[in-house]
């Protein structure tokens, strides 16, 4: 039976541009092996509209995948394998 991936959540709402991408990248680089193995998902909560374009583009270049959902006025970006 496959295990559910561990979820790390980063709340970047209210922070300056480009905190969302910079802090997401820091986390991704630190946990890349676990992300690539599918053991981990990184969730970024952001109100930065620009980050909904830059995070997916960046992680896709790293062979990862991003899903975005709008929730109550902010965006939830899930980075995973």
């Amino acid at each position: 039976m496959s295990q559910q991936p561990v979820v790390i959540e980063k709340d970047i709402r209210g922070q300056i541009c480009p905190s969302s991408l910079l802090l997401a990248l820091r986390e991704i680089n630190q946990q890349f092996d676990r992300l690539e193995a599918g053991d981990l998902e990184i969730v970024v909560l952001t109100d930065n509209r620009d980050a909904t374009g830059t995070i997916p583009a960046t992680v896709e270049n790293m062979g990862l995948h991003a899903e975005i959902e709008k929730i109550a006025g902010y965006y939830r970006v899930v980075v995973k394998k």
Binding site: G14, Q15, I16, P18, D50, T52, G53, T54, P56, I68
Partner: protein
């Protein structure tokens, strides 16, 4: 108030509303354009900037040829000086640390960013602090002049501005076409209500032309931040304001076309021609962004922000204000107003802005990560 004054004020307010709305929808951040180039090696936000400059070069020249442009070059643009290079550099560092430029803080504040408000506060404080060193900087700035008469490259070379404008616009459009062919304008995922960056850039260029026709100068707002600082100081130390040269001088002269007579203005707290053409933009841009954010259900100010980040943004605002006064002028004034006309001051500002943004990006990375 005379109808002509209402026309100028009301017209510019509407331009500000429109600019704020579209800048929020596209998150068209001019600070991000240079920052991301150095931080992420991404030219994504440089492309709309190039498009806006190319469209503006074409529109400004068309307006000049048809006699619609009230001034050539615009008042407020001086002869080239090393001071502008220094100002551009300082501005670039401050802009990146603030997370937005002088206009960016306005649309981001309207969109609900409280840190943008902190940056705005830094801009006002910095503008007030600059007034104290202005008498010492002014002689240095004068001594650093490279030419005594020519303001634009066409003036320096004694050639027609038309060829230069067509060359600049042509080069810009060619670059944009190459990017389009390479698929680099596509955005991938876009947030709700997103307006393509090229479209917002084109709208901003048209708004710049309309601002020129209404006021006689391109969009700019930084002197008003000094006026706000002077207004606050006036409440507590009026005698100091009266003795501060930067606040008492009314050196700026402008005849907004609908008014048709010369008005003066300066950095002091009084309502003058600078207030007439800048205050409506300062109120309109955040209101336009607020309306956009409200319509999207995204106006949700978030109070829990790292204190260190707020301090960095505040200091960034102070540094950016210093840069805009040392130059003088901000990135919007120089890149969207002066560059399309190839004013040498704006080219020097850009030459300083690039290394400044690089230094700012390195510092930002150190502070944030």
């Amino acid at each position: 108030m005379e109808t002509e004054f209402v026309t100028v004020f009301g017209g510019l307010f509407c331009l500000g509303l429109t600019a704020g709305f579209f800048m929020h929808r596209s998150d068209f951040c001019l600070a991000g354009a240079l920052r991301d180039l150095f931080l992420f090696r991404s030219a994504r936000l440089i492309r709309p900037l190039v498009f806006a400059v190319a469209v503006s070069a074409l529109l400004f020249e068309l307006a000049r040829l048809t006699g619609l442009l009230p001034y050539y070059p615009f008042p407020g643009f001086g002869v080239p000086a090393g001071a502008t290079l220094v100002g551009g550099f300082v501005f670039g560092v401050g802009m990146v640390l603030t997370g937005a430029c002088v206009v960016g803080v306005l649309y981001k504040l309207g969109g609900g960013s409280l840190l943008a408000g902190v940056g705005l506060l830094g801009l006002i404080v910095g503008s007030g602090l600059y007034a104290e060193i202005h008498p010492y900087w002014q002689p240095l700035a004068k001594a650093s002049r490279w030419h005594e008469q020519a303001v634009t490259l066409p003036q320096l070379t004694g050639t027609s501005p038309t060829g230069w404008a067509l060359g600049l616009a042509g080069a810009g459009f060619l670059l944009c076409a190459i990017w389009w062919q390479q698929g680099k304008w596509s955005q991938g995922y876009t947030p709700e209500g997103f307006v393509p960056l090229w479209l917002t850039a084109g709208i901003i260029a048209i708004l710049s032309l309309l601002a020129l026709l209404l006021s006689g100068v391109p969009m700019g707002i930084t002197t008003s931040y000094a006026k706000f600082a002077a207004g606050v100081e006036q409440l507590f130390v009026p005698e100091h304001v009266a003795a501060t040269e930067f606040f008492t001088a009314r050196a700026f002269q402008l005849a907004p076309p609908p008014i048709g007579r010369v008005l003066t203005g300066g950095g002091g707290p009084q309502f003058d021609v600078i207030a007439l053409i800048q205050y409506p933009l300062i109120v309109g841009i955040p209101l336009g962004a607020f309306f956009s954010a409200l319509r999207l259900g995204e106006f949700k100010p978030h109070w829990k922000v790292p204190v260190g980040q707020a301090l960095m943004v505040f200091c960034g605002g102070i540094i950016m204000a210093f840069g805009s006064r040392l130059a003088p002028g901000c990135n919007v004034w120089h890149l969207l107003g002066g560059l399309p006309l190839l004013t040498m001051q704006s080219l020097l500002f850009l030459a300083g802005l690039l290394p400044g943004a690089w230094v700012g990006s390195r510092l930002l990375q150190k502070f944030l990560v």
